[in-house]
C-alpha cells in the first residue's frame, strides 16, 4: 500500500506531501527517538507524539515511509521548518497511536487478501 493510499484510508491531515508513492511496509509506534532508530524498519509508517525538530532527522535517517503525528499534536516551528528537506510525507491525526496502529494493520493486511 502506498503512503497516499494509507493517508486516505486513515483520513490523515497532510502536513507535508513528501513521497506519497512510496510503499508502506509496516508500522512502528514510539517516541523515544533512539529507540525508534533502533527498532523501526525502513519503509515503516512511524506513529509518534514527539513533535520537535529531531523527528525530522530520525525520520530521514531511519528511512521511514512516512511520519504520522498522533493525538493531534502540533509540530513545533523548527520541525515545520525541516519538512521541506524530508523525502517522506508527514501527516497528523487526532487518533491515538493504538488506534492508528490497529487501523494501519487492517489496511496493510487487507492489501494481502
Amino acid at each position: 500500500m502506498k503512503v497516499n493510499e494509507l493517508a486516505e484510508g486513515l483520513s490523515l491531515e497532510c502536513l507535508y506531501e513528501g513521497d506519497g508513492e512510496r510503499e508502506v511496509e509496516g508500522c512502528y509506534c514510539g517516541d523515544l527517538l533512539s529507540w525508534v532508530m533502533g527498532r523501526a524498519s525502513a519503509g515503516d509508517a512511524w506513529v509518534t507524539i514527539m513533535s520537535n525538530v529531531n523527528v525530522a532527522a530520525v525520520a530521514a535517517l531511519a528511512d521511514v515511509a512516512c511520519v504520522i503525528l498522533a493525538e493531534g499534536v502540533e509540530p513545533d516551528e523548527a520541525l515545520r521548518g525541516r519538512f521541506e528537506r524530508l523525502d517522506c510525507a508527514v501527516f497528523r491525526s487526532g487518533m491515538a497511536a493504538y488506534e492508528l496502529a490497529w487501523r494501519i494493520h487492517g489496511l496493510l493486511e487487507g492489501r494481502q487478501e
Binding site: S34, N52, V58, L61, D63
Partner: protein, 143 residues
C-alpha cells in the same frame, strides 16, 4: 575508487543541528550509489554518535572514510570520558539530563544502537580526557 574522507565539526551547543553531518553523509553515499541498507546503518550510527557528542561532550568531530567495501566513522570528543563503558553499553542506561530526555533522547539506546548497526565497534575513553568511538559498516552489495 580512492577512499573519500569527510570531516565535520559537531557543534555542542546546537541540539537541532545534530544530524546535519549524518544527513550529509547519507546524501553523499546515496550519490555514490551505495546499497540502501548500508546507507541506513551508517546514518543511524553516525546520528547516534553525533547526539552523544552533543549531549555529553559539548561538541567534537566526526571523520568518515568511505571506501567501496566499508564505511568507517570516527567520532572524537574532549568531553568527560566514560567511567564505566560496560554500563554505558547496556540498553536503557543513560546519564542524559532531563531536558535532553524531553526532546526524545536519553533512552539509553545510543551506544547499543551504534554497536548493533555497525560491524566493528570500538570505544577508547579516558575519564577527564575524552572519548573516541570508531565504527565500521561493511558494504554488502545487493542489500
Amino acid at each position: 575508487m580512492d577512499a573519500l574522507k569527510l570531516h565535520y565539526d559537531v557543534d555542542g551547543e546546537d541540539f537541532s543541528a545534530a544530524g546535519e553531518a549524518s544527513s550529509n553523509v547519507k546524501k553523499v553515499l546515496r550519490q555514490l550509489g551505495f546499497p540502501q541498507e548500508a546507507i541506513r546503518r551508517t546514518a543511524i550510527c553516525m546520528y547516534e554518535g553525533e547526539i552523544n557528542v552533543v549531549i555529553h561532550a559539548g561538541g567534537g568531530f566526526a571523520d568518515v572514510t568511505v571506501e567501496p567495501e566499508r564505511i568507517t566513522i570516527v567520532l572524537t570528543d574532549h568531553g568527560p570520558g566514560i567511567p564505566d563503558v560496560e554500563k554505558a553499553m547496556s540498553e536503557g542506561w543513560s546519564t542524559a539530563p532531563t531536558k535532553v530526555r524531553e526532546l526524545g533522547f536519553g533512552a539509553g539506546m545510543g551506544l547499543p544502537n551504534m554497536k548493533r548497526y555497525s560491524d566493528e565497534f570500538r570505544i577508547d575513553t579516558t575519564v577527564g580526557v575524552g572519548t573516541t568511538v570508531t565504527m565500521t559498516v561493511n558494504v554488502t552489495q545487493g542489500q
